[in-house]
Structure formats: structure tokens, C-alpha cells
């Protein structure tokens, strides 16, 4: 699912994608910047965040994970979050990629990147999108442990 909103709000483009298969966040950044981003020479700052699956959580070894989501609502909420960020900070473009389905340790779960003229906006908007995503985007993690499975109960705050 690829959701691109093209300059609907003043200034910024945002691409939001849900991915059922693994992705390389740095190859994505490179490709997006080269092929999609229309601002060569205009952006001075890019802040990106990559969330990666760890092989442990709350003192237990985690073998793999299933990421449930709510098709339609997940994309809509990510879009809302990006729109809010656009009203709060001046940036040129943003990219959000989030995995769904089966994930293995060391695989990327989420990439958020923001391109802007000045670094403050890039850092602030990237972090805002990440934090809001963590608290509002409808995703649910189920971990497979050495013995049995468990749903992750709650995300912790990131500030």
C-alpha cells in the first residue's frame, strides 16, 4: 500500500508505505532521495529514524514477531500524523515505511525520514512522527518466545 500525498498541504510531500516484506531502510532512503525527492540543492537537513527488531524484550529472548494492523485505519492515522507534523514544522518531504506481518530479529520495523532546509525542523518533525506513530498508529505486536507467544501490552514513551 503506497500512499503519497502531493502538496495537498503547503510545501511538503509525504510518502507513507506499509510493507509486507523486509526492506533495507538505507537503500530506501537513497532511492527515495535520488528518484523521488524533487529538491536537490534545497534541503540542508535530513533526520531519519530506523526501528529494528531486537532479539530480546522484557528479559525474554524473542524469536520472531507478528505485526498486526488495521488496513485502512493504519494508513489514515499515519497520514493524519504526517499532516499534523506539516502544520507544526516547515519541511520539504517525509518518508514513512512500516513493516506488517512476520518479522525476524535484526529486521527493520519502521523508517521515518524528514528532509528540510534547517536541521531543527528535521529533528523535531521526525521525532514527532515517530512518537505519534508509537502511540496512535494501529499496529499490534505479538512476540514468539522460546516457549509460547505473547502480545506486547504497551509502547513506552520516547522522550
Amino acid at each position: 500500500m503506497r500512499l503519497r500525498f502531493s502538496r495537498r498541504s503547503p510545501g511538503a510531500d509525504v510518502l507513507i508505505e506499509l510493507r509486507p516484506a523486509g526492506f533495507d531502510p538505507y537503500a530506501e532512503l537513497q532511492r527515495y532521495q535520488t528518484e523521488t525527492l524533487g529538491h536537490a540543492g534545497k534541503y540542508g537537513a535530513t533526520c531519519s529514524f530506523v526501528g529494528t527488531m531486537r532479539d530480546f524484550n522484557e528479559n525474554e529472548t524473542v524469536r520472531r514477531m507478528f505485526l498486526d494492523h488495521y488496513p485502512g485505519m493504519t494508513e489514515r492515522q499515519l497520514e493524519r500524523i504526517a499532516e499534523e507534523a506539516k502544520t507544526r514544522w516547515r519541511f520539504l518531504d517525509a518518508l514513512v515505511i512500516h513493516r506488517v506481518g512476520e518479522i525476524l530479529p535484526d529486521q527493520p520495523i519502521v523508517l521515518v525520514a524528514v528532509w528540510s532546509s534547517h536541521r531543527g525542523a528535521a529533528f523535531d518533525a521526525c521525532r514527532y512522527i515517530m512518537e505519534e506513530l508509537k502511540s496512535r498508529a494501529p499496529f499490534w505486536k505479538k512476540e514468539t518466545l522460546a516457549l509460547g507467544e505473547r502480545w506486547v501490552e504497551k509502547n513506552t514513551g520516547g522522550y
Binding site: 526501528g51 498486526d68 488495521y70 508509537k134 494501529p138 499496529f139 499490534w140 502480545w151 501490552e153 509502547n155
Partner: protein, 77 residues
Amino acid sequence: MSIRVRYFGSLREKMGRVDDILAAEDIDTVSDVWKAVSEGEYLPDRILCAVNMDYADPDAPVKDGDEVAFFPPVTGG
């Protein structure tokens, strides 16, 4: 009237089903929907609600054709 009720995450497993179709006539709010699908229980504080894919309060109104969803706190990212 007809309301589709969907469940996600651990709540789906607790409910033992992915959705319900409600046809009852005496449903005005999200809370009423929950009571109808859970045999009269109150909506637990920690369960989040959405109407037509937007977050909604328990006392938000629902109408014929709406999609209502219930789910635990989100854990993406």
C-alpha cells in the same frame, strides 16, 4: 440498522472472532456497541475505539452502516 464491529490484536483472540455484524435497533453510541457484543459488559478503560477508522470516545454516536473497531493499546514502531 447494520453495524460492522471489528477486533484487533489481543482483543481479537479474547473475543474469539475477527468481527460481528450488529443488527440491533437500540444502539446509539460506541459503548452500546460494546455492550451488545460483550454480553452487557462495560467498556474497559484500556480498550481503544474507532468509528469509520478514526479514533472515537465511548460516548461517540454510531449510525447505520458505520464500522466500529475495538482494540488494545497500539504497539507499532
